[in-house]
Point group: C2
DNA sequence: TTTTTTTAATGAACACTGTTCATTACTTTT
DNA sequence: AAAAGTAATGAACAGTGTTCATTAAAAAAA
């Protein structure tokens, strides 16, 4: 009997319809303003129906934030494709990260700033997509270490430093804290900071 | 007639009572859960009364975030007191920043992560406390540049880089994104990252 | 085919939220 | 003592996430 299989297929279809609607609503209005009712409206279901497919709002946006990671990981991989020099790979990966954040601020918000998606991770569960993304950064850093191109030698320290720097840069920008810099120079200053950081990292 | 002066004094008193309650509620429950009604309860006023003293919730928490800046600025200033070496001053200021963030995560949230306080700044208005805090960081960086102790020579680039790095470090921690590192080493890795960054910055 | 059982979807409600406004209570001025 | 001005509030509005008894539809059993 293929009925239970078809049912499961239909279930997954509805699920991803809701997810798509949630993603759209979230990108347009942000986490707080993307209400369950608004998402339900988009898929033409009752709000209560949403809860047959997701435990709560956190869980919906955990699923959405996973879509974000897919996209980020893809764009970072694409950015280093065909490049040999490890430093150049790291640079391009960094710019891809920055580009993603500035072009999809709402998504980045969900992935690295909002509490909600983390709350959806149950005890003793892993943050799988976070780890995957983290690892592809690690890989590039490891390459730089192995080829003795950067000054830092401890992988964890290097990765934490570089990631923190990049996250700080884009999240202060996204959250409007760079008002302290002359408005018209912010973009240039951000690029200059990235270049400066790479220069500092590099062995001479 | 000192009556209007007494009235003004009383008004300011009520205002700061509300502020204190808001701060407390916020520290305990975070921005979203710190409701106007909860704040009103704390000061034993009606919710509507709050709106005689503040335009909206954003404005309340803008005022609270200013209190946070006072504290942070004080603690950063205290941390460098009596220290001569510019690099050591920068290091201690950095650790003071980190300590503040980790000890007052809710406050830090309001100051550097939440959107709300920024929304309370009207068009063409300045983020005064942000600028003040930014300047005392700038001062230390400038000292390092002047005494040729660090490799970066452009003040804006240096400050943006250092601040972004520190903000990234503490905000990823606060928002639980360091799950990607072994739980028990996170604190050590964060300190090691700070030390590593100072080492990279320094001229040899 | 008809009846029973299982599954899916919903309307209505609950307990909240930020915010507004007409009404009341109190002070100051006339 | 009456009038004017100010401060505080109760009640309401429109919204939120979430739950649950009830209804509609589909599948299984008779």
């Amino acid at each position: 009997m293929g009925i239970i299989e078809r049912k499961e297929r239909e279930r997954q279809e509805v699920r991803s319809l809701i997810l798509e609607a949630a993603q759209q609503a979230f990108i347009e209005d942000g986490y707080e303003k993307a209400s369950i009712r608004a998402i339900a409206d988009r898929v033409e279901y009752s709000p209560a129906t949403i809860y047959l497919y997701f435990k709560d709002k956190s869980e919906i946006f955990f699923a959405v934030h996973e879509l974000g990671f897919e996209k980020l990981i893809y764009q970072m991989s694409e950015a280093v494709e065909g490049i040999k020099n490890p430093i150049e790979r790291l640079r391009q990966q960094g710019y891809a990260y920055m580009k993603f954040a500035l072009e999809n601020p709402a998504m980045y918000d969900l992935m690295f700033i909002q509490n909600a998606p983390m709350e959806a991770i149950f005890e003793n569960e892993e943050w799988v997509c976070g780890h995957r993304c983290f690892e592809i950064i690690c890989d590039e850093v490891q390459q730089c270490i192995d080829s003795k191109l950067i000054k830092i030698t401890v992988l964890e320290v290097a990765t934490m430093s570089i990631w923190s720097f990049m996250h700080g840069l884009v999240s202060l920008k996204i959250r409007n804290r760079f008002k302290t810099f002359p408005q018209e120079h912010i973009q240039n200053l951000m690029s200059a900071s990235v270049e400066q950081m790479i220069a500092l990292l590099q062995n001479d």
